[in-house]
């Protein structure tokens, strides 16, 4: 059990490290380059000044 938990934690850390080495996409005029968030609400990725693609449906 102890080894399973340790292996799971190592996998989490390695996955996080691999993801962190990828640079986040730069912000463009239309989209917000934001980090992911633990909140389950959909991420608002459009600039509020040009919100047509993300308009509420």
């Amino acid at each position: 059990m102890k080894n399973i938990i340790r292996a799971f934690v190592v996998v989490l850390a390695l996955t996080g490290a691999a993801a962190a080495t990828r640079p986040a996409a730069p912000a463009t005029a239309k989209t917000i380059a934001a980090s992911g968030h633990s909140n389950l609400l959909p991420l608002p990725v459009c600039d509020p000044n040009d919100a047509a693609p993300c308009a509420l449906r």
């Binding site: 059990m1 102890k2 938990i5 340790r6 934690v9 190592v10 989490l12 850390a13 996955t15 996080g16 490290a17 993801a19 962190a20 990828r22 986040a24 996409a25 730069p26 912000a27 917000i32 380059a33 934001a34 980090s35 992911g36 968030h37 633990s38 909140n39 389950l40 609400l41 959909p42 991420l43 608002p44 990725v45 459009c46 600039d47 509020p48 919100a51 047509a52 693609p53 993300c54 308009a55 509420l56 449906r57």
Partner: protein, 299 residues
């Protein structure tokens, strides 16, 4: 069930999971110990509830575009508040985990403060770019800080996982459970941040995976607070343990050192009581020395 439907179900499940975890935490009467986690869960429940209401009724109340604008600013404001609370949770978890080793606890907090300060400066610098508006700048800054925070969470999880025995904890301890939940969220967050550049709209398969991981992390917290926690063991470390050695070193770090007068000192620097003590001590020493020399001569 399609991905979009599953995502919507998970969106509704999140505030409920938060409330369930919060209820178990309050019931376990450890709310004072985990007060930042209580604040985080309460904020998440509020943010999720209000966010869902805006998504559901915003279009009818404010129109599609203005509704999105309200959602945008609400989301990022709550994002910043939650990021600060999560940082406070990381600090409190570290302090709780290291409570028996005060020296290392203080040293860790000192390092943590420096890392935090340097991260803020780096994020401020990296967020600046030509033609970046104030909104973009703030969002880039918050995102950079969140990435740093996720990395810090994973470091904390690794530390708690591998140094759990010297700290007298077990894998059933709530400190480990909270760190594990935070670590799962941090990993999902980092993966999503690497993915986010390819997203065209707010909902996607990556969002669904992220949502599922977050619900799982909240379930982990609920289970850990629902089950009784084993008592912390009495810590016995071998005298050669590096934990003990570093704790002793850390305890004396920062103490103001004593001072020694190396070239003698004039009598006026001493208080009258000190002079009297020294006079009596030298008389006593003289008396002892005379007595010993008489004893040697008579022999």
């Amino acid at each position: 069930m399609t991905t979009v439907e599953l995502t919507q179900v998970l969106e509704y499940a999140e505030p409920l999971s938060c409330l369930v975890a919060l209820a178990f935490l309050l019931r376990s009467s450890t709310a004072k110990q985990f007060r930042f986690l209580v604040a985080l869960l309460a904020t998440r429940s509020f943010a999720s509830g209000v966010g869902l209401l805006i998504l559901k009724f915003g279009r009818h109340l404010f129109g599609a575009l203005f509704g999105y604008e309200i959602y945008f600013y609400f989301y990022w404001s709550m994002f910043a508040v939650e990021a600060i609370l999560m940082l406070a949770v990381i600090c409190s978890m570290y302090r709780l985990a290291m409570a028996p080793l005060k020296g290392l606890q203080n040293l860790g907090m000192l390092i943590f403060s420096w890392v935090g300060g340097i991260s803020v400066l780096l994020a401020l610098g990296l967020s600046a770019a030509p033609h970046v508006t104030a909104t973009h700048y703030i969002l880039n800054f918050v995102s950079q800080m969140q990435r740093t925070q996720s990395i810090l969470i994973l470091c904390l999880l690794l530390f708690v996982c591998f140094a759990i025995r010297p700290m007298g904890l077990s894998y059933r301890s709530r400190i480990f459970g909270v760190s594990l939940g935070l670590g799962m969220m941090a990993t999902a967050s980092l993966v999503q941040s690497a993915w986010i550049g390819h997203v065209k709209w707010m909902r996607g398969s990556m969002t669904t995976i992220n949502d599922a991981v977050c619900c799982l992390a909240l379930a982990v917290w609920a289970v850990y607070f629902a089950l009784p926690e084993p008592k912390r063991r009495i810590i016995t470390l071998p005298t050669t343990s590096p934990f003990l050695r570093w704790n002793q070193i850390s305890e004396v770090l920062g103490d103001s050192p004593g001072h020694v007068a190396i070239a003698g000192l004039p009598p006026e620097m001493l208080a009258p009581a000190e002079i009297e003590v020294m006079r009596r001590a030298s008389l006593k020493m003289q008396f002892t020395w005379d007595k010993e020399s008489h004893a040697v001569q008579s022999n």
